[in-house]
């Protein structure tokens, strides 16, 4: 069983410390949600785990399948089974969804066998069509340039399509609900739920509780000021929905204010 194990993670961007000692373990077959107000470092965590060059790890470690994640480049992390659904997926003009995904699939095959000639095109088309059906996507979608001129909903669906094709063991969804209307949100959540199973662990990062009406987490964590300050079951999300973050903040400040700690 694979797990993503984050230990005492400290991360800075432009010399400013954003993550200040974060601990979290996500296993296959589990759905974790990280909630928290804006500016607490949720996206920093997502980007750092995927290996974005702008973020500097100053302390701590992350282990995945027996490997130190910080010794791997972003593409190696992906091939190891880590996936990040971006909050703001990037447009790649001139590169179709199909061409991009075929390149990504072939990169995985070649990492296993450098002599691999690549997935046969008919096999790839069939597989892509199946995954697109699952996400209720028109087949013409495959021929469009990746994220180029996509609506908010199309971008998020394209992220989930990539996840479906690449079959990660741990997937991080960074604010996947942002910019979605309720119908689009449902389609995206249905896709995630369809992909979820004992071989997939999911880390949902969200500002709002509403995504968690559709993707049911097993564990909910509250993040504040670069740390996880509260963890619990699904009830915690409902409690936050009702009472906001203030009580967590107060509790946290009180805890920090205690002398000797």
């Amino acid at each position: 069983m694979s797990q993503l194990e984050i230990k005492n993670l400290h991360v800075s961007i432009d010399g400013r410390e954003i993550l200040k000692g974060l601990d979290l373990t996500v296993k296959q077959g589990e759905i974790h949600a990280i909630m928290g107000p804006n500016g607490t470092g949720k996206s920093t965590l997502a980007y750092t785990l995927m290996g974005h060059p702008a973020y500097t790890v100053t302390e701590g470690e992350v282990w995945f399948k027996g490997q130190n994640l910080f010794e791997l480049e972003a593409d190696e992390r992906s091939r190891l089974g880590l996936f990040l659904a971006f909050q703001y997926p990037v447009a790649i003009p001139g590169v179709t969804v199909a061409n991009f995904l075929r390149t990504a699939v072939n990169a995985r095959r070649r990492a296993v066998n450098p002599e691999d000639k690549g997935i046969p095109i008919p096999e790839f088309r069939k597989m892509l069509q199946e995954q697109m059906n699952l996400l209720k996507m028109e087949s013409s979608f495959a021929g469009r340039y990746l994220n180029d001129g996509f609506s908010g909903g199309e971008k998020k669906r394209a992220e989930i399509l990539q996840m479906a094709v690449l079959k990660p063991e741990i997937a991080i969804l960074d604010e996947t609900d942002s910019g979605l209307d309720i119908d689009a949100l449902r389609v995206v959540a249905d896709g995630v739920n369809a992909l979820f199973g004992p071989d997939l662990g999911v880390l949902v990062i969200t500002h709002y509780q509403r995504l968690l009406n559709y993707i049911k987490p097993h564990f909910v964590h509250v993040m504040l000021d670069g740390r996880i300050v509260e963890s619990g079951g699904p009830d915690l999300a409902l409690h936050l929905e009702e009472h906001g973050y203030d009580w967590v903040r107060e509790k946290y400040e009180e805890m920090n204010g205690q002398p000797g700690r």
Binding site: D75, R77, I92, V95, T103
Partner: protein
């Protein structure tokens, strides 16, 4: 005690040598034939014109001081016998299952029977009056036509290299399609120019007569060798209501200094689709002009270039609207690696009275290394008042965020870059209706991206 000689090793580059002139002489002019007067005049102009220097606007960014002009010589008769043969892949069809005709031009002239190439034209096309042959044969067999076509669109006064090619061209192609004749299968010519130290001079003459239609592919190529040169003239006329799709592939070896003057005139309601692919040469200076001379004429120019190493590619394009209701559409896209350099200088000219003209030009460059450089200089000169002319020019680099996005999907960095470069060129690929040509360009992208 004897003084030891002082040895200093300079790590700086040697000073660039002074501009050399060629050592060609009047004795080298081909004797007799229908072009003797034309050549004599071209020779006199060639003698009169100095080598272009960077003081001239058109040559400001392209310096010829490294060209070893004085040592270049014309290939001897049948020089190809002692030189590498034309690779068979250059003879393969690019735009269809097979060719309607093929002309292979070798250094010093003549046909190499071992490649089985030489001159070939579908007998059905011969019967319909189509002429597709090398210049020497055309001079013998169709002297009046050749005399009429030489100088039809390019004046030898336009430059030193135009005059040189006009005067001394040993090799060339003549294509004539009679009125109303549609040539279904594409015609293909290859100019094969091996041989360090040689000057290959070529003259291509095309006339697609009124209402006729043809696709013509011309490729110039050579192996990677020490310095050599090509200077060429391309003169094309597209008659009234005629259609020409012209694919021009520049695959010269890395030692070639390549110069060309090209002008295609399109008459009333004629249509031109002109595709360029430039991946070779040490240095290229190419003047390509589209001249819309009749009402309703349209022309599209699509350019693909990819320079690496120390290549220098300079494309000077001109879209001349000389009649009302004419349309031109130019898109040139290029990538640069290593210490290479590209120059694109484009001009749309709209003559007085050429109303309802629609002109477009765009040049996009992708610079892939710190040391490479692209210059992009658009221009408009509009002397009519009821026209629509737009242009755009950009020089960009690969951005970090898309690269990270692709890498986050498991695509290794080098492949992520290749994918983005392919994406960059996609708008050009979309304009090319031939799989074979697109595959050539894809291959060039792949080869140049993967090279050190």
């Amino acid at each position: 005690m004897q003084e030891k000689p002082k040895v200093t090793i300079s790590r700086t580059r040697p000073a660039v040598s002074a501009l050399q002139d060629f050592a060609f002489t009047a004795e080298m002019l081909p004797a007799g034939g229908p072009l003797s007067e034309y050549r004599q005049r071209a020779w006199e102009i060639y003698r009169r014109l100095p080598m272009p220097t960077t003081a001239e606007e058109a040559w400001r960014r392209t310096d010829l001081r490294g060209l070893p002009a004085a040592t270049l010589r014309l290939p001897a008769a049948e020089a190809w016998r002692d030189l590498p043969p034309v690779p068979s892949h250059l003879l393969q069809p690019l735009t269809a299952e097979q060719h309607g005709g093929q002309v292979v031009l070798l250094p010093g002239g003549g046909d190499d029977p071992s490649t089985g190439s030489g001159q070939r034209l579908d007998p059905a096309l011969v019967a319909r009056g189509v002429i597709f042959t090398d210049l020497r044969a055309a001079e013998r067999e169709h002297p009046d036509l050749v005399a009429r076509m030489a100088g039809q669109t390019v004046r030898v006064e336009e430059g030193k290299f135009a005059a040189l090619a006009g005067a001394l061209s040993q090799n060339g192609v003549v294509l004539y399609v009679p009125p109303g004749v549609t040539v279904e299968q594409p015609l293909h010519s290859v100019l094969w120019g091996p041989g360090a130290g040689l000057a290959h001079l070529s003259h291509i003459l095309v006339w697609v007569d009124d209402g006729a239609s043809v696709t013509y592919v011309h490729e110039a190529a050579s192996p990677d060798e020490a310095d050599s040169m090509h200077a060429g003239l391309l003169e094309v006329r597209v008659g009234q209501g005629a259609r020409l799709t012209f694919v021009e592939l520049q695959s010269w070896g890395r030692g070639v200094w390549n110069f060309s003057h090209e002008r295609i005139q399109v008459e009333r309601d004629g249509n031109l689709d002109w595709i360029f692919g430039a991946v070779g040469s040490r240095l290229t200076k190419n003047f390509s002009e589209l001249e819309l001379v009749g009402e309703g004429a349209t022309g599209r120019m699509s350019g693909f270039y990819f320079a690496d190493g120390n290549q220098h590619l300079d494309h000077d394009t001109q879209q001349n609207h000389l009649a009302p209701h004419t349309t031109s559409d130019l898109l040139f896209k290029g990538a640069l690696k290593g210490r290479s350099r590209s120059v694109w200088q484009g001009m749309i000219y709209v003559a007085p009275g050429a109303q309802k003209t629609d002109g477009y030009q765009a040049n996009r460059n992708l610079v892939l290394s710190k040391e490479a450089r692209a210059d992009s200089i658009p221009g408009l000169e509009i002397l009519a008042d009821d026209v629509r002319c737009t242009h755009g020019a950009t020089v960009g680099r690969l951005e970090e965020e898309p690269l990270f996005y692709l890498k986050s999907r498991g695509i290794p960095p080098a492949e992520a870059e290749r994918l983005m470069v392919e994406g960059f060129f996609d708008p050009i690929m979309q304009r090319i209706p031939f799989d074979g040509v697109r595959q050539r360009f894809q291959q060039a992208i792949q080869d140049k991206m993967m090279a050190a």
